[in-house]
Symmetry: C2
Subunit: 143 residues, 2 copies
């Protein structure tokens, strides 16, 4: 069970978003070797700009654990989180953030990492091509 | 119905949070002269770091309108939004953001305004003393 394994699981979530007409982003939260939350973008379906994959995965994981902090968890997400989601990852003190494709336009790295917890380890670029191809394909069908 | 009127409504929400043992922050969203959402911080109660007043107010307002954008709305919040909430305010394209007390530690202004929509007007400091006193009183009772 390595990073690519869980990123493929996040990609499966992203494909569900794609099939629902949502920008295809998926997220998975893992504690030890246990998957405690999976979610995909639902902003159109729910008419809710906060319904990003990461926000819904964090809410689900915390509800599942009955705790506010995800200090022993890794969050996998197919696209570099936006500032909103990075802020949520910071509040939850997620210990490790692994993302797929970078997002030069709306990614949090444009603003810096100050909203993350100082101890959060960040690893970008896992299955980057597959993750970004899915997003590009989505926008092609929309044009 | 001026900014102080709606900020007092947000303060009433913040006091509800206080009474529930939550960091006392309240938010109100107004469209025209109609209040379409009110919410207060619920992170402890819900074990959910994303349950900030602003996030819950935005989710409620968008559900109420059945629309993803709050382009004709003003969001009132008693404390300067954090980066997560400012990101959500940006995605929702809120036309006007009015906050009470500044937050030098976790406020979004530390990072800048790039996560807001370029057209969003920002006004800070409305009933600032009352808003910050409530937060300070809360932390005094916790020591």
């Amino acid at each position: 069970m390595d990073d690519e394994y869980y990123m493929r699981m996040a990609l499966a979530e992203a494909r569900e978003a794609y099939d629902e007409g949502e920008i295809p982003v998926g997220a998975v939260i893992v504690s030890g070797d246990r998957v405690i939350a999976k979610a995909h973008n639902g902003t159109e379906r729910l008419h809710d700009v906060t319904a990003h994959a990461e926000i819904m995965a964090i809410t689900a994981a915390e509800e599942m654990l009955g705790a506010k902090y995800l200090t022993d968890c890794t969050l996998y997400v197919t696209l570099e989180p936006c500032v909103m989601c990075a802020g949520a990852i910071g509040w939850a003190q997620v210990s490790r953030l692994v993302y797929g494709a970078g997002d030069e336009k709306r990614g949090f790295e444009q603003v810096g990492r100050s909203m993350l917890h100082p101890k959060t380890e960040v690893c970008g670029g896992v299955l980057s091509d597959e993750c970004s191809t899915l997003v590009k394909d989505f926008f092609k069908t929309r044009r």
